[in-house]
């Protein structure tokens, strides 16, 4: 029972935060400066997610295979490779390195 309650509470809380930003956007009379900053804030959050997911696992270093794979993917992105190539390339390098015994 507490399992259902916990999952429901997490769902309600998450949805509330999702909806709050969407609805607040119109209520708040945001200055042009703040409007310009919002996509930058989102970019900072997404970059932080990508960086922490690249380097860390359970608050410790994730090993070399993953950052190496991500670096290869970033190189492909820089060379303007299509999204699918970036994703598959990063996964292939990480998986290949692990096959070779790199953690």
């Amino acid at each position: 029972m507490s399992l259902v309650v916990a999952i429901a509470a997490l769902a309600v809380g998450t949805y509330t935060m999702r909806l709050a930003g969407v609805l607040l956007r119109e209520r708040l009379d945001l200055s042009e400066r703040v409007t310009r900053i919002l996509p930058m804030a989102a970019a900072a959050l997404l970059a932080a997610l990508a960086a922490t997911a690249t380097f860390t696992e359970d608050q410790a270093f994730a090993g070399w295979a993953r950052p190496a794979g991500v670096a290869f993917g970033a190189l492909l992105a820089w060379r303007r490779a299509p999204f699918v190539a970036v994703v598959v390339g990063a996964a292939a390098v990480a998986a290949g390195l692990r096959l070779l015994g790199v953690p």
């Binding site: 949805y15 969407v22 959050l45 970059a47 997610l49 990508a50 299509p82 990063a90």
Partner: protein, 223 residues
């Protein structure tokens, strides 16, 4: 225009396939940890936030539902600033906002902000959002059903695919020097804070990266 549509379709298929695989590993891990068969699918449907779901499974199995909720909410607090940033892409009607808000994920926000044109932003938000919701839930069911065979995502390098995909989506935005400085500073703060703070907080702290704008404007004023 047709090329753009084809690119969007291809990108949606790519990320959709990755989501089936990661959703399957979520379903499998949840079942293998001892949760009942319905729990992973209930989470994937009504919570629909991968990182929080993985974390909640660990804490729920450890018998700590309160910590599971609080940690999950802390991890998901980033959706509030995300909502502020992409609100315009959901559509004007209340129904579009009520439904669209539930589809908001890191990937959807990244795909949406990579577009400039408002009409394309909206199409991207909905196509990617619906694709991810569907594939994440299909993957969860498959993983829960075949828990014994669904493999560790790291074996296929999927753990590297996720951040690489985010970087690819962020790339066009990072061409703007101010945005790039903010993003790099924010990412550095988050990585450095990760060993020290509970999950979720380091990513929120990346908003401190906006402080770079103050330095930039001061430098601009001095020059």
């Amino acid at each position: 225009m047709r090329t753009a549509q084809r690119t969007l379709t291809r990108d949606a298929v790519t990320i959709g396939l990755a989501m089936v695989a990661i959703g399957a590993s979520f379903g499998a891990i949840a079942i293998a940890s001892g949760l009942p068969w319905w729990a992973p699918s209930l989470m994937s449907t009504i919570v629909f936030a991968g990182g929080a779901q993985f974390m909640a499974v660990g804490l729920l199995v450890a018998g700590n539902p309160v910590a599971a909720v609080l940690a999950g909410l802390l991890l998901n607090a980033r959706h509030l600033p995300f909502g502020l940033a992409v609100a315009g892409a959901l559509g004007p009607s209340l129904r579009a906002r009520l439904v669209g808000a539930h589809l908001m994920t890191d990937e959807v926000v990244a795909f949406t902000l990579a577009e400039d044109d408002p009409a394309r932003r909206r199409r991207t938000y909905w196509i990617i959002g619906i694709t991810l919701f569907t594939t994440w839930n299909v993957g969860t069911v498959l993983g829960a059903a075949f828990a014994s065979v669904a493999a560790d995502p790291a074996a296929f390098g999927l753990d590297a695919a996720f951040p690489a995909g985010l970087i690819a989506l962020l790339w066009p935005t990072l061409r703007d020097p101010a945005t790039r400085d903010v993003a790099v500073a924010g990412a550095a703060v988050a990585v450095l804070a990760t060993p020290l703070l509970p999950a979720g907080l380091p990513v929120l702290l990346s908003l401190l990266g906006l402080g770079v704008l103050l330095l930039r404007s001061r430098k601009g004023a001095a020059a």
